[in-house]
């Protein structure tokens, strides 16, 4: 009994359709092939038969109920966990361990507290055998890109949560990876900061050549940012559906209320919350007490 009739989320306007046609003509950036991962054999696999590909410069989100293995999936892509069976290929090379072609931003703040902002951003650059002066010059460029010029010499403890994550993004981007992996990077931020960070991220992504894989549990965030959303179902984590977001780019916060946005979100909700009776809000019968008050 919805107030407005929502369109089918699979219907794409001509410009969105054209965009997806162009996207799919690009080269494949990453292929995940029949991936399995088990941590605890008693509980069964956390990821089961996960296969998908992403394209160059695509923004892909991974979403699913808590414990569905979305973080495990991105950690496998980063090379931080070992693969049980199946494979992940990035630019044609099989992922075995972490590599600089895959930068990562974590939900936890992972800036090195004993280094300044500049030194943090220089960290990856110095691992590439660059001179200190060169690394510093490059680092300042990226600090400028995330708008933290005034905080070059600050220590992480002097920054707010949003600033810390901006430095973390600059640090991952400085080594110019082909993919940026983001594991709920804005999960610890308050709502306003989170909205600003989303806008920042879209701007940065528009200006550089990078594919982004973004894990989140926030449906709005996933729809707002992504080209495609990989929806996992929990227990075991299998792909429920890969959704092409029918919203045109560039994105703006006004689009949160468009019918396409709401239709996509409704579909995500249906996919994620099915079979979750135990979490449903119980219906409380109206009691005499309530009647009295009213």
């Amino acid at each position: 009994m919805s107030l407005i009739t929502l369109p089918n989320y699979k219907e794409q306007s001509p410009d969105v359709k054209e965009r997806f046609d162009r996207l799919k003509k690009r080269s494949v950036k990453m292929t995940v092939n029949e991936l399995y991962k088990t941590f605890d054999t008693k509980k069964g696999p956390i990821l089961k038969n996960v296969s998908f590909s992403t394209y160059k410069r695509e923004f892909t989100s991974v979403i699913g109920p808590s414990g569905c293995g979305k973080s495990t999936l991105i950690r496998l892509v980063a090379g931080l966990e070992s693969i049980d069976s199946g494979s992940i290929n990035v630019s044609g090379t099989e992922v075995k361990k972490p590599g600089i072609e895959r930068g990562m931003v974590f939900q936890e703040y992972t800036l090195f507290p004993w280094l300044t902002v500049t030194e943090n951003v220089m960290y990856g650059l110095l691992r590439q055998n660059r001179s200190k002066a060169e690394a510093k010059k490059e680092a300042l460029k990226w600090i400028n890109l995330v708008g933290l010029d005034n905080y070059q010499d600050a220590y992480p403890s002097q920054l707010s949560g949003g600033m810390k994550q901006r430095v973390a993004i600059a640090r991952s981007l400085a080594t110019q990876p082909e993919m940026l992996l983001m594991d709920e990077p804005f999960g610890a931020l308050d709502a306003q900061t989170r909205a600003r960070m989303q806008a920042y991220l879209l701007q940065i992504w528009r200006n550089i050549d990078i594919s982004i894989m973004f894990v989140t549990h926030d449906l709005d965030e996933a729809v707002y940012l992504s080209d495609r959303i990989i929806v996992l179902k929990g227990n075991p984590g299998e792909i429920a559906e890969i959704i092409e977001v029918p919203i045109s780019r560039p994105r703006s916060p006004e689009q949160f209320l468009t019918p396409e946005f709401l239709a996509t979100k409704k579909r995500l909700e249906a996919l994620i919350h099915r079979n979750k009776e135990e979490e449903a809000v119980p219906v409380i019968p109206t009691t005499d007490l309530v009647n009295e008050i009213m």
Binding site: L80, G99, I100, W114, G124
Partner: protein
């Protein structure tokens, strides 16, 4: 009730004035108690110091006798019609009065030792400090790197932890005789006892601290292209240094507790020798003076190390609060 609620709020800091009052009280209360017992003659004072021996044959001037004995002897004298002894109430010799301790504290630095060739108090103290610092240094040179390796690489942990776990239960003093046989009777065996007492705990404590470093810092470095050895050098060591520094402060305190054991091995030396010697002469004021100095040295050095730590690890310290 109101005062009660004000003084005992659960898990809330008291206001600054109350806290500084309590801080002062924590030192003045024991001292006041000591003063009360020493200067109020009706409190405790179980002995009598003789001023006039009367006709009691074995009493001498300034002799300390138990009050019961004093009263019994006087009763005996009374029944015999002889002169009674006189004296004033006093505490046992092992509880000197505060002012006597203060005087002897000053005197111990100004008057030469009783026998020529014996060390002054400050010389004894310096010798003790030398033993501790050398023992702690030798232990740390091996213990800290090994601890960091054990906390980082399962290889080193599996290789050394079982033996260390076994060895740390052996009390360091049992190695005293062995240390003398191997290292002679001078400072060698004393330093060895401090090393044995410190080293095994040190490796375990530092390994534990190292292993507690937030693993996402290590993962972040991995995704930035750092090799394993680079991560050890650029992440694990600088990341754990502030906590290792804190551990070292605690471990240094433990090293002090082995001092007394170490100093009676071979030839007795240092502050322990000084205290034993003074006790032998029944100079208990000197014993108290030495104990107080050790406490002050411990407290001051710990505060100094804490201050230096806050200066060195400024940016990390801010994050902790």
């Amino acid at each position: 009730m109101k005062v009660f609620e004000k003084l005992f709020p659960i898990r809330k800091l008291l206001d600054k004035k109350t806290r500084s009052t309590l801080f002062i009280l924590s030192f003045t209360l024991p001292i006041l108690l000591w003063c009360a017992v020493s200067y109020l003659p009706f409190l405790w004072h179980p002995m009598v110091s003789i001023t006039n021996t009367g006709d009691v044959s074995y009493f001498k001037k300034e002799m300390l006798v138990k009050r019961k004995v004093f009263e019994a002897e006087n009763k005996r004298m009374q029944t015999k019609g002889l002169q009674q002894a006189q004296g004033y109430r006093s505490n046992p010799i092992y509880l000197p009065q505060p002012h006597a301790v203060v005087v002897s504290l000053v005197k111990s630095f100004t008057t030469p030792p009783r026998r020529r060739g014996n060390p002054w108090l400050h010389e004894s103290l310096l010798h003790s400090i030398k033993i501790i610092l050398l023992g702690f240094l030798i232990s740390s040179i091996i213990g800290v790197p090994l601890g960091i390796l054990c906390g980082t690489y399962s290889f080193f942990n599996s290789l050394t932890a079982p033996f260390i776990e076994y060895f740390r239960y052996l009390p360091a003093p049992v190695f005293g005789a062995l240390a003398v046989a191997i290292l002679g009777i001078n400072d060698g065996p004393k330093i060895a006892i401090i090393v044995i007492g410190t080293f095994f705990q040190q490796v375990l404590v530092i390994a534990n601290t190292t292993s507690k470093l937030n693993s996402s810092l290590i993962e972040a470095a991995q995704t930035l292209g750092a090799s394993n050895l680079t991560i050890l050098k650029t992440i694990i060591i600088p990341g754990t240094l502030p906590d290792i520094y804190k551990d070292m402060r605690i471990l240094l305190g433990w090293a002090w507790t082995y001092l007394v054991v170490a100093e009676v091995i071979g030839t007795s030396t240092g502050i322990t020798w000084f205290i034993n010697q003074q006790a032998k002469y029944r100079n208990f004021e000197q014993v108290y003076a030495a104990i107080i100095i050790i406490g002050v040295i411990g407290l001051l050095s710990d505060q100094l190390l804490a201050y230096i730590g806050r200066k060195i690890f400024k940016e990390q310290a801010i994050q902790e609060i």
